[in-house]
């Protein structure tokens, strides 16, 4: 139903308001290293992603997610 490209585009759209440095985004972009997000930004972004897809990304799952690609995969799995 949802293809990976659509999920990727939705997620990069959600990242934009938090992408203060204008980093160019790709599957391998990391939240901490490339986007330089602190824990509060992560919290805000995760909440908006959860609401967008109507899912729960537990803190346990969040600990394993470092890149945009990994997040897209998690969302795909949760929506499956």
């Amino acid at each position: 139903m949802t293809d990976r490209r659509t999920v990727y585009e939705t997620i990069t759209g959600l990242i934009e308001p938090f992408n203060k440095k204008g980093v160019s985004l790709a599957d391998a972009t990391t939240f901490q290293g490339d986007l330089e997000w602190d824990s509060l930004t992560v919290m805000d972004f995760v909440a908006s992603t959860e609401d967008e897809f109507d899912i729960i990304i537990t803190m346990n799952m969040q600990a394993e997610i470092e890149t945009i690609g990994q997040l897209v995969d998690v969302v795909m799995k949760l929506k499956a």
Binding site: D38, M43, A47, I56, T58, M59
Partner: protein
């Protein structure tokens, strides 16, 4: 300055391929920069003498304490002190053991009895600190495959309780009933769930909409734990906390509290309505694998808790102080953490670390101690000066504090 500088001096790094301490280089540099700027270190205050719940001597100067958790001013209560002295004489200085083995004395039981009387509940369990109470209850209660749903602004001890256990952790936006409802609604129905809330959030001094939140938790079949550390003694008719004020008696499964705030000593506890609660003593590692509180501490706690049940005048005076400080600071043009005085904590929001530290130091030099708080302890990356009131602050002390806030705020350029 000398002791600060010395403490920060970095000696030659040990000759190892990977120095585990190098991850703290950023912190060391930040503190060094602070020290080099010539300000006093807000995290290295020493009280040379403590004269009362509201006055201490810091660097030889008599200082009004406006940044302690001694909300009800019980630390110098003569009955409380006498109870501690008697226990020292009769039971010695320590227990040398765990609550499970040789570390339960008469007064540990008495402190638990005092808590049952105070809360009018059947079960109470005393821990060695409030931090351990959250660590122990949260990590033990919620197991693998079950869910903890917590407010994003929760205290570190709640987060650490989550980290120690094996449950799935879900956060919701601070104090948002709608956000909590949505998240609970997305979780699978079957597994057990615990919603963790706080009565008063200690950084901004704001209170939780507990009535709505508990209703939402119940609707989704979740149990509820409320940490009432910063509300015990002066919320609700019997001083039980925000949950009592909101009329939620019997609807909160677990209440966490501490002896280190209104009670005026140190220690933590959980009280519960649950008929099987006593089983927790046999499973809770932060209860079992640590030393129990010294007899003098539990004796002072028991005496203080029983006095707090009837401390109506103190409660009234504490609220008066809170309203007066909040009103006075608002009138001067300060930005505060809450629009109205919601608790005994009044947070002054500042624009950055430099402004916060300069105002903090100016106040300290004028004889007023408040807390400087910064991220990650504070929400939304804010820098603030946190004032906490005491029932023993006199009207004259509040007048002095307000005058110093005016002078210091104008000197630093925070207010006009």
């Amino acid at each position: 300055m000398t002791e600060t500088t010395e403490m920060l001096r970095v000696d030659a790094t040990p000759a190892l391929p990977h120095d585990l301490m190098s991850k703290f280089d950023g912190l060391i540099a930040e503190r060094q920069a602070l020290a080099d700027s010539g300000v006093r270190d807000p995290f290295a205050i020493v009280m040379e003498q403590v004269k009362s719940p509201t006055v201490a001597v810091i660097k030889g100067k008599e200082t009004i304490l406006l940044g302690t958790y001694n909300y009800m001013g019980m630390t110098f209560d003569p009955d409380v002190i006498q109870a501690g002295k008697d226990a020292l004489d009769q039971f010695g200085s320590g227990t040398n053991g765990s609550r499970m083995l040789n570390g339960t004395f008469r007064d540990h039981i008495d402190a638990e009895e005092a808590l049952k009387e105070f809360y009018a509940l059947d079960h109470a369990m005393v821990f060695s600190t409030g931090y351990l109470a959250n660590l122990g209850i949260i990590s033990t209660l919620v197991g693998k495959g079950e869910y903890i749903i917590l407010d994003a602004d929760s205290h570190a001890s709640i987060y650490d309780g989550c980290a120690l256990g094996n449950a799935e952790i879900v956060r919701f936006r601070h104090n948002s009933v709608e956000d909590l409802d949505k998240r609970l609604g997305r979780l699978p129905k079957e597994p057990g769930k615990l919603v963790v809330l706080e009565g008063v959030y200690s950084m901004l001094g704001d209170i939780a909409p507990l009535k709505e939140m508990v209703a939402v938790a119940r609707k989704h079949g979740a149990m509820v734990l409320v940490d009432e550390a910063h509300s015990m003694g002066f919320f609700g008719e019997h001083g039980r906390g925000v949950y009592e004020q909101e009329g939620l008696e019997g609807q909160v499964d677990f209440i966490i509290g501490t002896f280190s705030k209104s009670v005026g000593t140190v220690g933590g506890f959980c009280v519960s309505t649950h008929p099987k609660f006593e089983a927790m003593r046999m499973a809770c590692r932060p209860y079992i694998f640590t030393a129990s509180l010294p007899p003098s501490v539990v004796a002072t706690a028991a005496t203080s808790i029983r006095k707090l049940m009837h401390a109506h005048d103190k409660r009234r005076h504490l609220w008066e102080n809170s309203r007066r400080l909040h009103g006075g600071l608002t009138a001067m043009g300060y930005t505060l953490g809450t629009e109205k005085p919601e608790s005994a904590i009044i947070a002054v929001i500042l624009k950055d670390q430099a402004q916060a530290i300069t105002l903090w130091q100016t106040l300290l030099e004028a004889g007023v101690y408040v807390n400087m708080a910064r991220p990650p302890a504070t929400p939304a990356g804010t820098f603030l000066l946190r004032c906490s009131l005491c029932a023993e602050h006199t009207a004259e002390q509040i007048t002095t504090v307000l005058r110093q806030f005016k002078v210091a705020g104008q000197a630093v350029g925070v207010i006009g």
